[in-house]
Symmetry: C2
Subunit: 215 residues, 2 copies
């Protein structure tokens, strides 16, 4: 991973937030932490015990196989919460994809936070199970379509969506290689389903078609 790099997409914090972020008890509020592109937030095996909320930017959560194969289990955009896994140590790596601001919430040892944590756990569970269906039973074009529909929804359902992550990240999220991701983008473009405004900015021309592909 390279050192401090100005993110190419710093518009993330300004993008619409369809699902207003959860708010937590002010007493728990911690100062905003800044992570440059590629910076690690926590690593597998590290002590857990806090959870995080993305203020701006984007985060990837992943695991590695012994030979280096990587599976990204989730991306987290502005307003979203992550990092609580239940155990004493983390089972995943979390990294800032680009310049990212993150608020940290401590999980007080004695305090009962089940009420706050249960919805977070359940949202994560639902997301993971949705993702399982995609990885287990959908082909390359369906996977990319599902990904784009999801990203569009999380950015307010607008036609134009920003992809804060690289093709490599998308591939590792969808269980595909970067080449396959690239080829599918090209196919969708040729079909007139999407337009590639720039590498990381996509316009959805035929939302229905995309939606149908992803089902």
């Amino acid at each position: 991973m390279h050192a401090y790099t100005t993110s190419r997409i710093e518009a993330q914090s300004r993008s619409p937030q369809p699902n207003p972020p959860e708010t937590f008890h002010p007493a728990l509020l911690q100062p905003l932490n800044f992570f440059p592109a590629g910076a690690g937030i926590y690593a597998q095996g590290e002590k857990a015990g806090v959870f995080y909320q993305v203020e701006f930017g984007a985060v990837r959560i992943y695991r590695l196989l012994a030979d280096g194969r990587r599976q990204i289990s989730a991306f987290h955009l502005a307003g979203e919460t992550f990092g609580f896994e239940g155990g004493a140590t983390h089972h995943f790596f979390a990294e800032a994809i680009n310049a990212t601001g993150i608020r940290v919430f401590r999980i007080a040892a004695g305090a009962d936070m089940s009420h706050q944590l249960l919805p977070l756990a359940l949202k994560g569970l639902t997301r993971a199970q949705e993702h399982l269906l995609v990885l287990g039973r959908q082909n390359a074009i369906e996977r990319v379509a599902a990904f784009l529909v999801d990203m569009a929804e999380r950015q307010g359902g607008l036609r134009k969506i920003e992809l804060p992550m690289s093709r490599m990240d998308i591939g590792d999220y969808l269980g595909l290689t970067i080449e396959t991701v690239s080829r599918v983008f090209t196919r969708l473009k040729k079909k007139g389903v999407i337009r590639l405004i720039s590498l990381r900015s996509i316009e959805i021309a035929k939302h229905d078609a995309l939606q149908n592909m992803s089902e």
Copy 2:
């Protein structure tokens, strides 16, 4: 699905239970419900609000795509808990794989059960994320190896394991076809890694080899 059929594997309830089942407040205890092989426990869209514990037998949890492709997100064996998804309605189907006894726990509207439910949600989340890595980044033999290692662990780590489910179920769990599952079993058998005692009963001859394959 076929009607009432005596399960071929009714030994499930007698198999060792390495992880003793959670116990819940007796006031919540409900009578034991019996489901014959293939019987539905709940369906997508149905009202939720209870959770379930397998007493004996086995359960599959799955979703369907519009064209009938099926992804099994989890199997639940004796002692394990399932069915709590957080929402008002179920997003999955749950079916008994063979003759199965299930205890139902009501989630009282007012009562605060976050303490009980959070560990369940987190266990499900961990399982799902483990599964994501398998589906996203492992090939057929690695997937089957991971599945067998998991089943062995959940049955007490013994050499001999019972597979309560069909090849079709295993395929739909691992994102493979039945033919591929069958071929991988044959390959593992020829390598001397496993022995097929019967269709649904397997002996692990080289546990280390299997473990290594699954990583």
